[in-house]
Amino acid sequence: MDRAAKPETSRSEVRPGNAGRLSAEEFAASFNQSFRLFWLIAVGITRDAALAEDIVQDAAMIALRKLEEFQPGTSFNAWMGQTVRFVAYNASRKEQHRRNSSLQPADTDGGLTRLATPEQAELTMGRRGELSADQGCFDDHVMSALSEISETARACLMLRTLGGLEYSEISKVLDIPEGTAMSHVHRSRKTLRDQLAPHFAGWAGTVGGEA
């Protein structure tokens, strides 16, 4: 995969020394290096880019309070990733609860406000799959389709697609087997393609439309 700006993971990870506890300064250096990796985990779980920064901030606060729990010589990203997941899952539950108890109809599809009717939203595509500027609803449908994928699977998808991480690296930061990470990504992408299939109607290459 192209790695022009991928979030740092194990290979370039700052590994605090084996001797003594993790210092706050070492934490800051490691956090700085892997911040976007944690953000991707949070955004995968919550589907909310703004909330993801708050989650990473909260996770950093928690981790700083528990520096003594870090096992010297182990992976900082795996340790911090666990805290980010914990905070993100909690935030996601709270947000879900808030939406469920809200009377605002605009919130019922996961924070999305529908911007167009299905007729308006039908997507046609250019020769190379480019979206024209006046077909602005496709992203909304992608966002909505993401709700059909589990939180962990979404985190795998984001880390792979946006972060360019290898499956082994995803496995480490999410604490799941490598095969599971791979399976999550494949299934997520397939789910998205299937969910979004109606919005590709009219495109010459519709599944089954050409032999």
Partner: protein, 285 residues
């Protein structure tokens, strides 16, 4: 994919889209693609979805880590260290720190976008809010398969030299370069004798997703100009039968790919130095 070894093919498709196949596997997969329109369509759909994910969740710049630690420090609940290499002048006044908001006050980005759309009611907002241009020079990772100029030319040939975009006037021409590179480019009018601009080939990922390829004819021969920002520069390999010449205009570099012995176009390009409104007015996409 609706046919053939379902899961295995999905895995191969993903690996292809991710650029994770080795050259032999990639060549083999592309041979299969050549005769499988449904598979090609599936790949285009996956790419469209991936592009949407990049638009929906643009990765924050790396320096946001410092801002987040700074914001955590401001909360005063715990001692939060400065980043080791932090510049005091910037950490004291960090850019764009977003104060934490209680959950009930959080408005989704999309609700906000919807409000703006309703208020503005115009296509401009559709372009800029829902389809923001990729930020050149940002830290946003853009995984794509980098191709050499030879592959770009092969694609143009396969498509019978049909350009993706043909500009009707100078403003459209400059607007397109501005959209992709944040700098306008123009050629003088009238063009020198023997020079003909045919159009643009887009999505040629030679150096980045923003790489532009201008298709021209000089004395009846195809000559291409590869344009991108200096930020994305890298050494390129000359396609067989062509020579490669490099030039610069402002923050852009240009590679003229020509069968001729010398560049005919590089020195012609110039920056019209117009304001953003002028470029936006020229956008037809």
């Amino acid at each position: 994919v609706s046919h053939g070894n379902g899961r295995q093919l999905d895995e191969r498709l993903d690996a292809y889209v991710d650029g994770a196949l080795d050259p032999r596997e990639r060549a083999e997969f592309e041979r299969r693609l050549g005769g499988d329109a449904a598979l090609r369509a599936e790949i285009q759909r996956q790419r469209a979805i991936d592009e949407a994910l990049f638009r929906l969740f643009p990765l924050p710049s790396a320096d946001r880590a410092g801002s987040i630690l700074h914001a955590a420090r401001q909360r005063g609940e715990i001692a939060v260290p400065e980043l080791p290499e932090a510049d005091e002048s910037t950490s004291a006044a960090p850019q764009g720190i977003r104060p934490r908001r209680p959950f009930f006050r959080r408005i989704s980005t999309y609700a906000y976008a919807a409000t703006i759309l309703l208020l503005a009611g115009g296509g401009w907002w559709v372009k800029t809010v829902l389809f923001p241009p990729y930020e050149i020079g940002s830290d946003q990772p853009l995984p794509f398969v980098k191709i050499e100029p030879a592959a770009a030319i092969q694609r143009i040939e396969r498509e019978n030299y049909e350009p993706d975009v043909v500009c009707k006037d100078d403003q459209q021409f400059a607007a397109l370069t501005w959209k992709y590179t944040k700098q306008g480019l123009l050629l003088p009018q009238p063009l020198p004798a023997g020079v003909e601009v045919v159009g643009w080939s887009l999505a040629q990922t030679i150096l980045s997703r923003q790489t532009l390829v201008l298709m021209t004819k000089v004395d009846g021969q195809w000559v291409y100009v590869i344009i991108d920002t200096k930020h994305n520069d890298r050494p390129l390999t000359s396609p067989p039968g062509y020579r490669l010449f490099r030039g610069e205009v402002g923050n852009l570099f240009l590679y003229e790919v020509t069968p001729l012995d010398e560049p005919k176009l590089l020195k012609l390009f110039f920056d019209p130095k117009k304001d953003e409104a002028w470029y936006r007015a020229g956008m037809i996409w």
